[in-house]
Amino acid sequence: MAQMNMIQAIRSALDIMLEVDPSVVILGEDVGFFGGVFRCTEGLHKKYGEHRVIDAPIAEGGIIGTAIGLGINGLRPVAEIQFADYIYPGFDQVVSELARLRYRSDGTFYSPVTIRTPCGGGIRGGQTHSQSPEAIFTHISGVKTVMPSNPFDAKGLLISAIESNDPVVFFEPKRIYNGPFDGDPNKPAVSWSSHPLGEVPEEYYNVPLGKAAVVEEGDELTIITYGTIVHVAQAAAKLAGVRAEIIDVRTLMPLDVDTLRQSVAKTGRCLVAHEATRFGGYGAELAATIQEECFWHLEAPIERVAGWDTPYPHAFEWQYFPGQKRLLAGIRKVMEAR
């Protein structure tokens, strides 16, 4: 076991996969000699060579398009998109090609591409370095969508994603790269070393795709969330003094409905939370599913707490970010509803 932050955990996953599988290649902007703007590929260029950790031109569509071709020819590409806010130029190759290849060719062609991309705000990045566009990917048939909330999961899920023969879009909440974040920007930053899930095995292991994690058990309320907000939810639940069962979805698509159903059937109350904008966000799918699956158990409407339906404003980052206050208000609303 070692202490790793999320960057180190991701790097460890990439390092191991490059080591054990000679067909794994990494490409992306600044991922090579430099090691990535967030340092996730640091040292790998030197260790595995410039032919396996490849600096790419600044063209997200070209990176994903060529990655698909690399995959068709037997390699296992891991593409890095520098910020999720910049993935849109590559959207067509994801939707029309990567996600459809296996289906349209009756399984004779597929490309096992993993797309890693940092997402989320809380780093003063303004509207073009803070987005969480996961919902536009979860709606696309044929690609899996993952977002870890801690180093242990980040490494285990990334290894599963790379090993998967299905395409995976792997979102990395950059705010928690260096430490968990409970939503209070005024508190001194904490590091992962003080967090149990900052304990990460050096060696190979995986966390299966498609399985949610019950982060905290409880019987009064179910909070379904993922990414950075997992930590905010834990803090808010403590503040609220409710016995909340907190579920980290981890894999957004395919969704582990059973785990959600069991919990809400038990608690009868449910709050859904994420950082992305609310309207048409992933929380809508969660709420729609829960009311379908657990309607007769529900004692209150399912509440959604999410980013407002505006771009992410630089000056009002903390009013935009769904922090403890907002989650607390949401929890109260669900608990008091009757």
Binding site: V25, H51, R52, A56, P57, A59, G61, G62, G65, T66, A67, I68, G69, L70, G71, I72, N73, G74, L75, P89, D92, Q93, S96, E97, R100, L101, R102, Y103, R104, S105, D106, G107, T108, F109, Y110, S141, G142, K144, S164, N165, D166, G210, P254, L255, V257, D258
Partner: protein, 412 residues
């Protein structure tokens, strides 16, 4: 608006009712364009992007340095394949008109583009075609019955009814699955070629897009990545003068050839007579040799003409003169190869019509066989439960549920 617009709008040379006019097409004589060494520096061979590489002259004689000197059997095989493609197209076009299939796209007049290139490449080279490259699938022995079965979406369809007609595939013989989205295969071909280079083998990739498709982002991505990594890839632009209703000028072809598009990235470009099978074969061979020897990508513009409608949903009489093809300066690729063979005493009109007859029968036979695997109206039909397979390698829970729900609804 007060003032008059100063915006330049490209104009087609001729519209319905007007006399066809191909004076905008820069032509060279057969044999006129030099053939440089395949390891030439790009700066020294820019002329290839301006001229028009041609081998067959007006008398159907092969001329000049680009003559690939193909033996008789190869030439006859090329003619046979082109004839087969045309017969196949003809049959399928009529089957669509009779409502037997939902949609079809011919390659009428462009057969040499696929056959000439396909014969010049190795079977280990990977092909990323557009929807007008059915010739490549036929050449790579995909099987007419299989291709027809696909167009019928029947039980023998290699993509199990997942795609509409003409989106062929042939993984075994290294021909990629066609996408409905224009040009997406272009950067994929570059990526495939990069992988070949990374593996250190000398396979190459070749891809095709139309003139109109060059405006898409994927064209730019492909050229950029191919240039940066010197990927062993041949990037073909099939300039058949039209993109549905817009002529090649709307794609930026008014001022410079499409072959020149890569020069600014250091990618050599060759403009070739796409209706001259020998010329197409020769330039493909040249580019393949260059790529295999580490010389990187080549952009080839194949000048040809879309002899038929864009697709069975299209009516070209609305936007271009009916008789344009008849006066197209580069003629009909099949007639030209046929006459070349006859001229050499390797072929005769009689043999030609005999083979044509034979093929008609064969294609008809194939159609019957294909129909035996099911038609749109008569079974056998594909199992509907299969529509949920291959979205992912393993079917996730929510798809299993939807599959069960659907089967229940269908009473299955």
């Amino acid at each position: 608006m007060k003032q008059k617009s100063r915006l330049h709008i490209p104009h087609a040379a001729a519209r319905p009712g007007e006399a066809p006019d191909f004076s905008y097409l820069a032509l060279s004589l057969a044999g006129e364009v030099a053939r440089p060494a395949t390891d030439s520096r790009v700066a020294e061979i820019e002329f290839l992007a301006n001229g028009l590489v041609r081998v067959l002259d007006e008398e159907h004689v092969a001329q000049g340095p680009w003559n690939p000197r193909l033996d008789a059997s190869t030439l006859l095989e090329a003619l046979r394949l082109m004839m087969l493609v045309r017969q196949y197209d003809d049959r399928m076009q009529r089957m669509q008109r009779q409502g037997k299939i939902t949609f079809y796209m011919q390659s009428l007049g462009e057969e040499a583009v696929s056959i000439g290139a396909g014969l010049a490449l190795r079977s280990s080279d990977m092909l990323f075609p557009s929807y007008r490259n059915q010739g490549l699938y036929i050449l790579r022995e995909t099987g007419l019955v299989e291709m027809m079965s696909h167009c019928l979406s029947n039980t023998h369809d290699f993509c199990r009814g997942r795609q509409m007609p003409v989106f062929y595939q042939n993984a075994k013989n290294r021909v990629f699955t066609i996408s409905g989205n224009l040009a997406t295969q272009y950067p994929q071909a570059v990526g495939w070629a990069m992988a070949a280079a990374i593996k250190g083998n000398d396979d190459i990739a070749s891809s095709w897009v139309g003139d109109g498709s060059t405006a898409e982002a994927d064209f730019h991505y492909a050229l950029t990545f191919a240039a940066v990594y010197q990927a062993p890839v041949i990037l073909n632009v099939v300039n058949n003068q039209w993109a549905i209703s817009t002529f090649q000028g709307v794609a930026g072809g008014e001022r410079r050839s499409f072959a020149a598009r890569g020069l600014g990235l250091g990618i050599p470009g060759i403009r070739v007579d796409g209706n001259d099978l020998l010329a197409v074969h020769a330039v493909t061979e040249w580019a393949a040799e260059r790529a295999r020897n580490g010389g990187g990508p080549t952009l080839i513009e194949l000048v040809t003409y879309r002899g038929g409608a864009h697709s069975t949903s299209d009516d070209p009489s609305r936007y271009r003169p009916k008789d344009e093809w008849a006066v197209f300066p580069l003629g009909d690729p099949m007639a030209r190869l046929k006459n070349h063979l006859i001229r050499q005493g390797l072929w005769s009109e009689e043999q030609h019509s005999a083979l044509e007859e034979e093929m008609k029968q064969y294609v008809m036979e194939c159609w019957k066989q294909a129909c035996a695997f099911g038609t749109m109206t008569e079974g056998p039909f594909l199992d509907v439960h299969e529509m949920f397979e291959d979205v992912f390698e393993e079917m996730p829970q929510h798809l299993k549920r939807q599959q069960a729900e659907m089967l229940a609804l269908e009473g299955l």
